[in-house]
Amino acid sequence: MTSAGTPLLEARNCSLRFGGIAALTDVSLRIDKGELVGLIGPNGAGKTSLFNILTGVYRPTDGEVLLEGRPVTGLAPHRINRLGVARTFQNIRLFGSLDVRMNVRTSFIARLRGGLLEVVRRGKKFRSEEREIQEEGRRLLAYFGLEEASILPSRSLPYGDQRRLEIVRALATRPRLLLLDEPAAGMNPTEKEELKQLIARIRAEFGTAILLVEHDMKVVMGICERLVVLDRGSLLATGTPAEVRADPKVIAAYLGEQHGEEES
């Protein structure tokens, strides 16, 4: 609840049920322009389900999703992406047979102007468009330090670089909102530190709002302006990291758990 006006993305009373199982119950969430929001919660709290609703992978059983006030509930994932929401995946989903450059280049397909015939004819329009895309892709890779890897198969990159490439690929679609699904999963402390810097650079350079799902409390507490806590499919708390950390419900459900038994 930082600022007034139309939020960039808003989920209103979203519920998601698979048969008898309620993955999400009455969850609301708002993200303002340029904001960095952390989404946390124990395993199985519904974080990825909420992500999948926001990106159109699932249609919520109830509730709606608004992008700058426009309803986008249940739109196909590619349409939501074209409206300015890009994402990464918890389990990395790069295009394994394509090299690093080509992975980034796929993000430009939705914006191509030339038709198929133009591609086959290799006309002037095609060539200049390809050059522009190549140039922008190269710039992005250079900015994120992946330029030297550009012709390597994406599969062969070290783990941390694969995560980074996924973020670059998402950014290449020029999103206004970037959803990062556990970007620090499986990273070592150095890589986590680099990730925090990377997120800060994305915000500074592109002004992109970010919704960050993360298990690692150090990463989340350190960089997020606002936290949303989910537990068992429901909203448990929202607020600044300090507020959330002091919230007894959160401590009981989440933070306490780190010292106690692990819930799965």
Binding site: T55, V57, A76, P77, H78, N81, R82, A86, R87, F89, R93, L94, F95, G96, S97, L98, M102, R105, T106, S107, F108, I109, A110, R111, L112, G114, L116, V119, V120, R121, R122, F126, E129, E130, I133, I151, R169, A170, T173
Partner: protein, 330 residues
């Protein structure tokens, strides 16, 4: 990858000129080629078109299609009806023999119309069914292939199960080789572009592709329709080469043979697939003398091919022979 093709890809006019040049040379200077060899070259060229176009669907886009022969049938019957019935009725004063100028001039639009009708049928099957994945898509395409075959068997105006005979022998080396070159060029040009990477993105990870703004259904339908178009053209060439077509010639086994070419050539490698198509055509011819043991030996050779993967063994050798190939860093 064959980098020697790069110069040709960069310059489409050069690529097409070279291809059409070869086709013209074969046609004009090929008088010494005996009819049997001509026939084998025609079959090889037609198989190249079929295999390379199926490769776009199976190899590049990763969609398992079992009805490529059905698209071929649509093109074959459409074009045979045009040259056999429509054209002679509309223009009765012209001479309609295989090598007459009229049949040669009208052969191009006839082939293209055959391709377009096949593409349309590809759109009709692909539109609804490409939302399905893997096994389910295979089932639907298998079903479509059978539907086409049964429909043709029961359509008396195209001869039913007896088929159509006396088709104008308009296919010659120029048309067959020309279209084979055109198809290979189109497929390589298509895939080597930002647009074309979409096919491969869909193959690698459909969910990620959609999340990057790619309309995956549309990409798949596009691949399917383009594949069907070229299969239809190949069907037209085939009908006018063998002069006789019947529904049985376009059954599931025919589709399967094309699939074998694609897998053998290496999914997603147009040049490899074209070579495999030529090799299998030759294999078919060589094994003719074995009569009833033919399919056994054929299967054994295919299995050996799969195990030994000659394409991968030969690649380093080819790189020494072919000019203009550089390391992967280029």
């Amino acid at each position: 990858m064959f980098h020697s093709s790069k110069a040709l890809i960069r310059n489409p006019r050069l690529a097409l000129a070279v291809g059409i040049g070869i086709a013209v040379l074969l046609q004009l200077g090929g008088g010494w080629i005996d009819p049997y060899t001509t026939q084998v070259v025609l079959f090889a060229a037609i198989n190249v078109i079929l295999a390379v176009s199926l490769n776009l669907v199976m190899g590049e886009t990763g969609q398992f299609s079992l009805c490529h022969a059905a698209f071929m049938a649509v093109g074959a019957y459409t074009s045979a009806l045009l040259t056999g019935k429509a054209l002679p009725t509309l223009l009765p004063h012209l001479s309609w023999t295989g090598s007459s100028w009229a049949s040669q001039v009208f052969f191009l639009p006839v082939l293209l119309i055959g391709g377009f009708v096949a593409a349309l049928s590809g759109f009709i099957v692909g539109g609804p069914s490409l939302r399905l994945r893997g096994d389910y898509l295979a089932m639907v395409t298998l079903g479509f292939g059978e539907i086409i075959r049964v429909l043709l068997q029961n359509a008396n105006f195209v001869g039913g199960a007896r088929g159509m005979e006396g088709i104008l022998p308009a296919t010659n080396l120029f048309w067959a080789v020309g279209f084979a070159v055109l198809t290979v060029y189109t497929m390589i040009a298509l895939v080597r572009s930002t647009y074309g990477r979409g096919f491969q993105a869909v193959r690698d990870d459909e969910i990620a592709a959609a999340a990057m703004g790619i309309d995956t259904t549309r990409v798949k339908v596009t691949a399917f329709v383009i594949g069907a178009f070229f299969a239809g053209v190949a069907g037209g060439l085939y009908a006018h080469a063998v002069e006789f077509i019947s529904p049985e010639g376009f059954n599931f086994l025919r589709s399967f043979e094309i699939i074998v070419m694609v897998i053998l050539g290496g999914l997603g490698r147009p040049v490899g697939v074209a070579i495999a198509a030529i090799l299998i055509t030759l294999l078919n011819e060589w094994l003719r003398d074995l009569s009833q043991y033919r399919m056994v030996v054929y299967a054994l050779i295919i299995i050996l091919f799969m195990i030994l993967r000659p394409a991968e063994t030969l690649r380093p050798l080819l790189s020494r022979v072919l000019p203009g190939r550089k390391s992967a860093a280029s």
